[in-house]
């Protein structure tokens, strides 16, 4: 971490030209012709798409999103290899509780936490919501991407901001990053509060040891993996799909919108979907955001890929980040999203020893049984929420805040 320079707090604003160009693309969008007979095809209905378009042409204002971020606070630092690490950073008026690191997932960004952050700062917690490398304003790595990179970035960021020990709340890929940080820096992590069990952990379980609830969960995850369009796109055809999505911001919004709808209980406002699509388009992060899915999987798939062999062996010899030694100690084969990990069963990821709470929302992709979580985490609190889905911080920020703060209060790190 480049600690010589003070972290900058000036939010880089998108140029007006870029915004105008974006608006022009959306205005000129060419929608497909879908006759009534064709409209009967399976898949989501078009009502979300219609309302997204109307809103984007009508009231959506990117400057409002920027203002909101700036209002909460922005900070950026540089990694040792010169990459920008950007974050929303909000301070409590009277910081009586532990600082909280919020980690987003795919396909979103720190905007996931836009409604949660004020609830946490009001309760006396400083909050840092950074973007994973390759998302928003955080630069992607030139070399191979893995969860180790954001894990290292974020721990360094928290140290640079003066937060020696902190709590982490996360969901989706953020849970995997949180797990990695806790494995690598248990002394710095007060607690983890997660809205899901990282999915790739499921593939490291020896099925013979799975209980019935775990077996059912594993089956549903595998089935989900086989059927989910976005998963196939991100892992198997990222370059082609990224090329399609990067050129059309509205197409991207439609793509993301279908996921928001599929994974949420109540309807998430158009503005949230548009904001993430606009953000991805304006920062050119459509492809980079897929790399957590595409990279480790591709490195395992391509047995005879010279490029992969070069990158990995080289790193191993240098003992740098991403080397085999480090990987074996830390996260094991859990990095890959691809199914069928028969021979990986021996590589159990190192257990997380910091106090962990799970808050599982019913309409999320899957609800893991407690015993599965207990294989990998020191579970101290396990709550099934009454409503809400995958984007819980957006859909039910009150429930998330309440459970997180109660958990921290129980550990002596929040004043209720």
């Amino acid at each position: 971490m480049n600690t010589a320079t003070t972290p900058s707090t000036e939010l880089p604003r998108v140029s007006q030209e870029a915004l105008d160009a974006l608006d022009a693309r959306v205005t000129a969008v060419q929608l497909p012709r879908i006759v009534p007979a064709a409209a009967q095809a399976p898949g989501h209905d078009q009502s979300r798409q219609r309302s997204l378009l109307e809103r984007w042409r009508g009231g959506f204002d990117w400057r409002e999103v920027e203002d909101r971020i700036a209002g909460l606070g922005y900070v950026e630092t540089r990694s040792d290899d010169g990459r920008r690490i950007a974050a929303i950073r909000a301070r409590a008026e009277a910081p009586t509780g532990a600082p909280i690191l919020l980690i987003h997932g795919w396909p979103d960004s720190p905007l996931r936490f836009i409604d949660l952050i004020p609830l946490l700062t009001a309760a006396g917690h400083d909050v840092v919501a950074p973007a994973i490398a390759g998302f928003w304003l955080s630069d992607e790595p030139e070399g191979e991407m893995s969860r180790d990179i954001p894990a290292a970035d974020f721990h360094a960021l928290m140290q640079a901001l003066g937060y020696e020990r902190y709590a982490v709340h996360a969901g989706d890929w953020g849970s995997a990053v949180a797990q990695t940080i806790a494995q690598q820096h248990p002394e710095g992590i007060i607690a983890l509060h997660l809205t899901d069990v990282p999915f790739d952990l499921a593939y490291t379980i020896d099925k013979a040891t799975a209980g019935p609830a775990e077996a059912a969960y594993l089956e549903s995850i595998e089935k989900f993996g086989d059927e989910a369009l976005y998963l196939t796109a991100n892992t198997m055809q990222p370059n082609m799909v990224a090329t399609v999505l990067a050129d059309t911001p509205f197409g991207l919004a439609t793509w993301l919108g279908s996921l928001y709808d599929a994974w949420s209980e109540s309807r998430i406002a158009d503005d949230h979907v548009i904001a993430n699509a606009a953000l991805m388009h304006l920062t050119s992060t459509v492809r980079s955001a897929m790399r957590l899915y595409s990279e480790p999987a591709m490195s395992w798939e391509a047995g005879d890929d010279a490029g992969w062999a070069d990158a990995d062996w080289g790193d191993a010899e240098a003992g740098g980040e991403g080397s085999w030694e480090q990987a074996a100690d830390v996260a094991g084969p859990g990095d890959a999203e691809a199914a069928d990990w028969g021979d990986a069963a021996g590589w159990a990821p190192a257990a997380v020893t910091v106090p962990t709470a799970f808050a599982l929302f019913p309409t999320d992709l899957a609800t893991a049984p407690r015993e599965l979580a207990e294989r990998f985490f020191a579970v101290e609190r396990f709550t099934i929420m009454p409503r809400g889905g995958h984007f819980a911080a957006l859909e039910e920020p009150g429930l998330v805040a309440e459970d997180l703060l109660q958990f921290l209060a129980g550990l002596g790190h929040s004043e209720p």
Partner: protein, 251 residues
């Protein structure tokens, strides 16, 4: 005495004038969902039965309650206070809670609750409304906390068992908590009640239900319901009226 109301999904609910009602559950593993609004202080005697369940409610002073009710081997006298409300879900006898070594037979176990959440086997769940009970059941099943034993289910529904008598006894002890013969006896009493309700004279009802004679039926009614058939038929809400009798059971 009781009215049959139609629910929005076409299922039938049974609503009793005493403020108690029930309807079939819409999820597997559960048998029914029930609710009660108590208008005046009273007591209700619930007949012994092999079912178990979760109940939620509020006391007259507004205090929330959450209860794990086990199967009962004797009539269960419930003291009801004016202003109380309760609702709950009943589970099939072949299901059980993983994490509990034995079913809480004859027990009404109070669970920690603040009205919005309750704690079961160390995990926090939303305290459900009447309409949210089935969602809770699904969550319990997904968590692997509410578990069904297919062997026992078959034994109970087909009255045939796979394997040895000893296997069945062991399985049933671990799931139902009561023995096979106990369950038979409880069902016989319910069947007899159904026949009596339909107008059959006592002697005939006894034989049709499978009793050797009427005196055996009377004895079992006293054992399970705390009253004779005559007394029960003369009263208002009988100990057998809190659930569907006959129809859903085989034999």
């Amino acid at each position: 005495m009781s009215q049959v109301a139609e629910m929005p999904d076409g299922a039938e609910a049974c609503v009793l004038p005493e403020g108690y009602g029930y309807r079939p559950a819409r999820v597997p593993l559960a048998t029914m969902v029930w609710w009660a609004t108590i208008d005046e202080d009273s007591t209700y005697t619930d007949a012994a039965n092999e079912f178990w369940g979760l109940a939620f409610g509020t006391r007259a002073d507004g205090t929330p309650t959450a209860t794990l009710a086990g199967p009962s081997t004797a009539p269960r006298e419930l003291v009801l206070s004016a202003g109380e409300r309760a609702w709950g879900v009943e589970f099939a006898p072949h299901t059980f809670l993983r994490g509990l070594d034995v079913k809480p037979i004859d027990e009404l176990r109070e669970l920690e609750t603040d009205g919005r959440w309750f704690v079961l086997a160390g995990t926090r769940y939303p305290a459900p409304s009447l309409d949210g009970l089935e969602r809770l059941v699904q969550q319990l099943a997904t968590q692997g906390v509410l578990v069904a034993d297919p062997l026992v289910e078959r034994a109970l529904s087909e009255r045939r068992f796979v394997g040895s008598e000893r296997t069945v006894r062991r399985q049933m002890a671990g799931t139902v908590g009561l023995g096979r013969k106990n369950v038979e006896q409880l069902r016989r009493a319910r069947e007899a009640y159904r026949l009596l309700q339909s107008g059959l004279p006592a002697a005939e009802a006894a034989v049709a239900a499978g009793y050797t004679d009427q005196s055996h039926m009377t004895r079992d009614f006293r054992l399970f319901a705390g009253a004779t058939p005559g007394q029960i038929l003369r009263g208002d809400m009988s100990p057998f009226d809190s659930r569907e009798v006959g129809g859903t059971e085989v034999g």
